[in-house]
């Protein structure tokens, strides 16, 4: 029933063969075909720009005031590519293998191999656009390393790589806007997909300034709408990041795959109080130079700098000597949680560990600089001074951000960090062509499920977003649209558009008419607490069952007691938020259901019932080597479809980073 359309042939030939044989649309016909792109992050902006360049008529939508503000902009550390510029043994195969292994053998081989193949083109394209990646003194590109790998393949622009890549894609997009190939709709939110005769043919969206509902036709619809980490309320996502577009597509027939696969990022600034609206990431790249530790003695309340070296427990280096501080995110997060749960956590709440730069500041950077300057036997103060300069160049903006939020200077005292929700590997189910289970409806970037399995490696999200938008969809969409060249644009007076718009209007009116007592925000916070406690870093059958009950109760309460101020026909941010939270509540239930179904542990999904003696995630490949693709049936009713995962090249084994 689920056809993933993976091309036949050897793994490393599939994409080449596909490109050689897929259908093409000639330039004259491209001009007659309209494509809707929802979301303008890395995936959306790169797709809209590339399709515009090819000659399609593109309409792009975003809810922000400018496409440049999509949350890809906040990505910090870098983007992977198998360039092997460092001569350290990297290759397309290694990037493929690391990604499959890092994902704990729950991703599709063919998609991941394609991702590794096109990674090299992404870097070329971005440099040509003027993306100012970090360079060496010789003028060539520099690299750093990220978790779960033993090579340096990450390209970066200080701690602002996502910003620079997005600005590159945004400029390419604006160029197409100027050329009239892309029409841009800002402050618009997609609220439904219009499906006619089994094919996606358009969307209904709300103009967030006037409140009007609009109908837009497209021969195909691309959802590039990011992840759903905000279901946890507190996450590193932007305040506006939401699941609504993907959820509406799900309710129109698109399967939702592996919804419980969420990434808890190990290095975020800890929660400071109930007022907290979001959590801030401190890039994984910091683990290149920062060492993670807690006091070795229980109840040691001394300040970090007063605890001598031999009384510190560098628990990642202790447990995983081969990868040390650069183990994958799921492993690092669980290890931090384990120490904190055992009572070794630091800070006022005890829910934090130290990330300390002093050692490398002195020994790595300080000594190298002193050597360059010919300073013999430098004292520690000199080494620190010299080291600081280098660290500032590498991570300056992150250190500044940390200081603004916490009021502490991380050059002097170690950062305090704790895991936080960061990324969602799950998403809309797509086949090899990135098409969902609804014909003509595509999902790109974080919005789909395909490449990261149960755990994403650092610096791979940017890679996937741009791969999908620049180098995959321009080929695969042609294979579909080649059969649509005779389809005339469908007038938006068509009954399917009218019906979809009416449903959207009815739901908005229902929400506004409740006039209850509790704010949208308060419901979102309660949902977040349920999800974090029962469907966060550790999950159990009992907890998940309870969570499902609690969420159903919360849903009832929401629909009978939410209070939304303002009117329908005006800018109304509370109303926008209410619609998103209502969707998050439904998604939360499905996530718990999925987590309950998957009795194994894998990657970021840790079922307490399934662990090794050392407390590592224990997979069950016999029973769970599948993608769980959930089909929506009715309220709280889903049907589970399984896509078996076959590993022809990267044979599954117990992941080991020791």
């Amino acid at each position: 029933m689920l056809d993933s359309k993976i091309p036949a042939g050897p793994l490393d030939q599939k994409w080449t063969d596909y490109k050689g044989h897929c259908k093409l649309v000639n330039p004259a016909n491209k001009r007659k075909l309209e494509v809707i792109v929802v979301g303008t992050g890395l995936a959306g902006a790169s797709a809209a720009a590339s399709l515009g360049e090819l000659g399609y008529q593109v309409k792009a939508f975003c809810f922000q005031d400018s496409p440049r503000r999509a949350h890809s902009i906040a990505a910090q550390g870098g983007i992977n590519a198998a360039k092997n510029y460092q001569n350290d043994g990297d290759s397309v195969f290694r990037l493929f293998y690391d990604t499959i292994k890092g994902g704990d053998y729950r991703a599709r081989e063919a998609n991941v191999h394609r991702l590794a193949e096109v990674s090299v083109n992404i870097i070329d394209q971005c440099v040509a656009q003027g993306v100012p990646f970090a360079r060496e003194y010789g003028g060539l590109l520099n690299n750093r390393s990220f978790g779960g790998t033993q090579v340096k393949r990450t390209f970066y622009a200080a701690g602002q790589t996502g910003q620079q890549l997005l600005i590159g894609a945004y400029q390419a997009l604006e160029r197409q806007v100027a050329l009239g190939k892309v029409k841009m709709y800002t402050r618009h939110e997609m609220l439904d997909v219009v499906v006619i005769d089994g094919k996606a043919r358009g969307i209904i969206c709300r103009n967030l300034i006037t409140g009007e509902l609009e109908r837009h036709f497209g021969h195909a619809v691309l959802l590039c709408t990011g992840g759903y980490g905000n279901v946890f309320y507190l996450s590193t996502n932007a305040m506006g990041s939401n699941v609504t577009a993907a959820w509406k597509a799900h309710k129109k027939g698109a399967y939702f795959a592996n919804p419980c696969f969420t990434q808890i990022h190990p290095t975020c600034i800890p929660v400071s109080g109930d007022h907290q609206s979001k959590l801030t990431l401190m890039s994984e790249s910091l683990r290149n130079d920062g060492r993670i530790w807690v006091p070795a003695k229980l109840g040691d309340k001394r300040a970090a700098n007063d605890i001598p070296e031999e009384e510190r427990d560098y628990f990642l280096e202790r447990r995983y000597p081969a990868f040390g501080n650069l183990v994958p995110r799921d492993v690092a997060s669980r290890a931090a949680k384990e120490r904190c749960d055992a009572g070794y956590g630091v800070g006022t709440t005890g829910q934090a560990v130290y990330l300390d730069f002093k050692f490398n500041l002195i020994n790595k950077y300080g000594k190298a600089e002193a050597n360059k300057l010919g300073i013999q036997n430098p004292d520690t103060a000199t080494l620190i001074r010299l080291g600081k300069e280098v660290v500032k160049e590498e991570y300056g903006n992150l250190f500044d951000m940390y200081e603004k939020i916490t009021g502490e200077n991380p050059y002097e005292v170690p950062m305090r960090i704790y895991p936080a929700v960061h990324y969602t590997m799950g998403g809309l189910w797509v086949d090899y062509e990135l098409m969902t289970s609804v014909k003509g409806l595509y999902a790109l970037g974080e919005a789909n499920f395909s490449d990261h399995g149960a755990n994403r490696l650092g610096a791979s999200a940017l890679m996937q977003g741009l791969a999908d938008g620049y180098f995959v969809i321009p080929y695969t969409i042609g294979n579909y649209l080649a059969d649509e060249i005779a389809t005339k644009p469908i007038p938006t007076e068509h009954p399917a558009f009218a019906e979809a718009e009416q449903k959207v209007a009815d739901r908005i009116n229902t929400l506004l008419s409740i006039k209850g007592n509790q704010t949208v925000e308060s419901f979102h916070k309660r949902l977040g607490r349920i999800m974090w406690e029962q469907c966060g870093m550790a999950r159990s059958e009992q907890g998940l069952k309870k969570a499902i009950e609690d969420i159903r109760q919360l849903k009832k309460e929401f629909w009978s007691d939410v209070r939304i101020p303002g009117q329908v026909n005006e800018m109304n941010p509370e109303l926008d938020k209410a619609g998103r939270v209502a969707d998050f509540i439904e998604l939360g239930e499905l996530m718990c259901l999925d987590a309950l179904d998957r009795k194994e542990s894998c990657g970021g999904h840790f079922r307490e019932e399934s662990q090794t003696e050392e407390g590592e995630a224990l997979r069950d490949d016999q029973q769970y080597a599948y993608v769980a693709a959930w089909g929506y049936q009715s309220d709280s009713q889903w049907q589970l479809n399984k896509e078996p995962l076959l590993f022809d090249v990267a044979k599954p084994s117990q992941r080991s980073y020791k």
Binding site: A128, P132, Q171, T280, E408, G566
Partner: protein
């Protein structure tokens, strides 16, 4: 850091829509923690307003980590508030003391009309980018990324200019509402790189023309823009824009 709680008085600009005249409203807020961000303090006020059956204050915000450029509050006469190199979302309440009065306005510039309350329309910036703020390279055109070495100093300067988040604080701070720092940053970013060289003349001319068309004012080198820029974009970029513009004018062959 020592934590403390404070009571404050807020004077906030309220304006129903672009057509409305707008006015200040005064709100007391109580028990604000010094650990909150400025926007979290506004969240608290909004929750309070909703509970009282009033309309919450509309404001732009998204990433809340100082990079998306969406937040835009003019706080006590200064864009993004009192801290150096900072956005509103990263301003924390330890910048204030118990009993303080804080005045919050939207960006004020003809080219940035108010949408509602503290939200303004900054689409003029997108149109300036459309006029030439890019390198014309279609997907697939690129040569190997290391084929063109770029001097590290130049690459670093290009990056420093490209760090602009497009928030518009420079315009809000300028007595003439000039967008020269924004335009200068983009022209510099691309002019400093060899990839940007083929289009450098038309880029400078067209972007400046669009800036004028949008109704931004002229630059008198006062430097208020640089002083409030959350990303520390240097006013040198305006000098570079002027050079690029002049060279384009002197050597134009069309």
């Amino acid at each position: 850091m020592q934590h403390y709680n404070m009571n404050l008085t807020l004077k906030v600009w309220r304006q129903k829509n672009a057509a409305d005249k707008g006015h200040f409203e005064t709100y007391p807020v109580k028990n604000i923690s010094s650990e909150m961000s400025f926007l979290e303090m506004i969240d608290v006020l909004n929750e309070q307003l909703i509970k009282e059956g009033k309309e919450p204050i509309a404001f732009d915000h998204d990433c809340r980590e100082g990079i998306c450029g969406m937040c835009s509050m003019y706080i006590n006469g200064r864009p993004h508030g009192p801290w150096q190199h900072n956005t509103t979302c990263q301003l924390h309440m330890r910048a204030y003391q118990d009993g303080d009065t804080i005045v919050v306005e939207p960006w004020r510039a003809n080219a940035f009309p108010v949408v509602k309350d503290l939200m303004v329309d900054r689409s003029a910036f997108d149109r300036i980018i459309q006029a030439g703020g890019y390198i014309s390279v279609n997907t697939g055109n690129a040569v190997d990324a290391n084929a063109t070495p770029i001097e590290k100093d130049k690459a670093d300067d290009a990056f420093a200019a490209a760090a602009c988040i497009g928030c518009g604080a420079c315009v809000a701070a300028c007595k003439n509402s000039s967008a020269m720092l924004f335009v200068g940053a983009k022209v510099s970013h691309l002019a400093l790189l060899p990839q940007g060289s083929p289009e450098r003349k038309s880029r400078a001319v067209n972007m400046v023309a669009q800036m004028d068309k949008e109704g931004f004012g002229a630059c008198t080198n006062t430097g208020a823009c640089e002083a409030v820029c959350p990303k520390g974009i240097s006013i040198e970029n305006i000098a570079r824009l002027n050079r690029e513009y002049m060279m384009a004018g002197l050597t134009e062959d069309k």
